[in-house]
Subunit: 218 residues, 2 copies
DNA sequence: CTAGTATTCAATAGATTAATTGAATACTAG
DNA sequence: CTAGTATTCAATTAATCTATTGAATACTAG
C-alpha cells in the first residue's frame, strides 16, 4: 500500500516544517502581518541567509506565500487554516507537555490571577463603549491591522503614556498571541498604576482568524 | 528574550513528533483504538524495536500515553485535541500541498464524484432508520467503538457479503479517516452492485472527537 | 550602464534522526 | 524457579538538518 505511505510522508513534510523553533517564531511574526526577509531576520535575530532558508522551507510546504514588491520579497501566511494549526499546536503542547506549563507559569505570572477575556465578550463591551482596548505590539504590526477601536501603545512606551489612560474605565490589552509577554507585562504595569486591566484571550491572529472585525489604519 | 525561544522550542518538539510518516501512521491507528507495541508493529509493518522507539518519542511529547496490562504495554492517544491536531494537519496539507491533491485524486477516484455525507446529517438519518451504515475497518477497531447501529464489514469480506445488504436502502460507509481507502473502495464496490452508496465525511476518530454518540460492542 | 541593495544559492561542519541488529530487562505462566 | 514473551535499551550506519560563510543573482535608482 504505497498510497498510504506516500500520503503520510506528505503530511509529515508539514510536520517537519513545524519542527523548528525558529520557523515557528517566523510564522508567528507572519501571522501578525506580511514582512520582508531582512525585516524578519531583524525581528527574529537570525542571519538573513538563514531566515531565507527557513522561509523557503515554509514556502515549499505551502504554509507561507511570497511575492516581490519593489526591491523586496514579502512573505505572508498562506491562510487562516495555518493560523489555526499553529494555535492548536500551542494548545496541545500546553496541555500535554509539562515543560510548557512550567515555562508559562514561571514567566507569565499574571496568568494564574485572572482568566483572559473571551473574544466575543470583548467585542460586545467595545460596542457598548465600556472598555479601552490597548494593542501592545510594535506599531508596524498595529498598522497592518488591529481590533476595532484599539489604541496602539508599544511595550516600551507604556510607562510614559500611563497618564493618558482613563483610569476610571476598564482596560483590556492584547498582543501577538496567548503566550506573548507584552500583554502580560502591560496588565501588570496597568494594575500597578491602579487601573483595572485584563488580557484578551489569544492575540490578534486568533481574533482575525475567528472572523471577527478588524480595523485598518488607512 | 530566552522565554520566547524556549517556548517555541517546546512547541517545535511537538512538531518534530509529527515530522515522520511512520509516526503519523501509528497515530492514526491509535486514534481508532488503543493497541500494544507488537500489534502496532504488525499493522504498520515496522520492526518492534523501531515501533517502540517511535512510540517513546510520541510519549515524550505527550501525544500518547501508555500503561502495562498483563504482559503487554498498551498505547493510546492522549486526547481529542490530538485527534483534532492531526485532522487539521491533514487539512492544511491537502489545501496547500499540491502533491497531496495529486495523490488523493489519483488514488481516491470516488472523491470527485460525490461530496461525503456530513456527520450531523448522517446522525439524523440514522435516527430515522433511513440509511444502512457500514464500518469498513478491521473488526478489532470496530469492536473498540463504532457509529450507532453501524454493521462491520472488513474490506476483504465485502465482496461475499454484498448480497446480505438491503439494496433498496441507501448505504453510507466509513473507516479510519478522510483519506482511508477502505471506504472509497467500498463505495465503489457497492455502486457496482447497484446499491446507492456514499461516504461519511472523515472517519471514526473525527466522529468521536466531534462529541457524537459512539456505540461499544459489549 | 553602474553602483548598491535584497535575496538566494552553494559549500561546509556539527548535530540530530531513522532504521537495523542484538542484547538486556521485566514480567507471567506453569 | 524457570522458560518464554513483550518491550526497551544500546550501538551502529546512512541520511538529513541547522547555522555559518561567502559568492551569485536579480533588480532598482540614479
Amino acid at each position: 500500500m504505497s498510497f498510504k505511505h506516500d500520503l503520510f510522508s506528505q503530511f509529515a513534510r508539514v510536520g517537519k516544517a513545524l519542527s523548528n523553533g525558529n520557523r515557528l517564531e517566523i510564522l508567528e511574526y507572519l501571522a501578525q502581518t506580511e514582512r520582508s526577509v531582512d525585516d524578519l531576520a531583524k525581528v527574529s535575530g537570525l542571519s538573513v541567509a538563514n531566515t531565507s532558508q527557513h522561509l523557503q522551507q515554509l514556502r515549499q510546504v505551502g504554509l507561507v506565500t511570497s511575492s516581490k514588491i519593489g526591491l523586496k520579497v514579502y512573505y505572508r501566511i498562506a491562510g487562516d487554516d495555518v493560523v489555526n494549526l499553529l494555535k492548536l499546536l500551542r494548545e496541545v503542547s500546553e496541555r500535554h507537555l509539562a515543560d510548557v506549563n512550567q515555562l508559562v507559569n514561571t514567566y507569565l505570572t499574571v496568568k494564574d490571577e485572572l482568566e483572559p477575556v473571551a473574544r466575543e465578550v470583548l467585542l460586545e463591551r467595545v460596542k457598548q463603549g465600556l472598555v479601552t482596548v490597548i494593542d501592545v505590539r510594535p506599531s508596524e504590526e498595529y498598522l497592518a491591522g488591529h481590533l476595532p477601536g484599539a489604541i496602539n501603545i508599544p511595550p516600551d512606551e507604556l510607562e510614559q503614556r500611563l497618564k493618558d489612560i482613563d483610569s476610571q474605565q476598564e482596560v483590556v490589552a492584547y498582543c501577538r498571541g496567548p503566550h506573548c509577554v507584552y500583554s502580560f507585562n502591560a496588565v501588570q504595569q496597568l494594575r500597578n498604576a491602579g487601573i483595572q486591566a485584563s488580557r484578551l484571550e489569544g492575540g490578534f491572529p486568533e481574533w482575525k482568524s475567528a472572523g471577527l472585525p478588524v480595523e485598518l489604519t488607512v
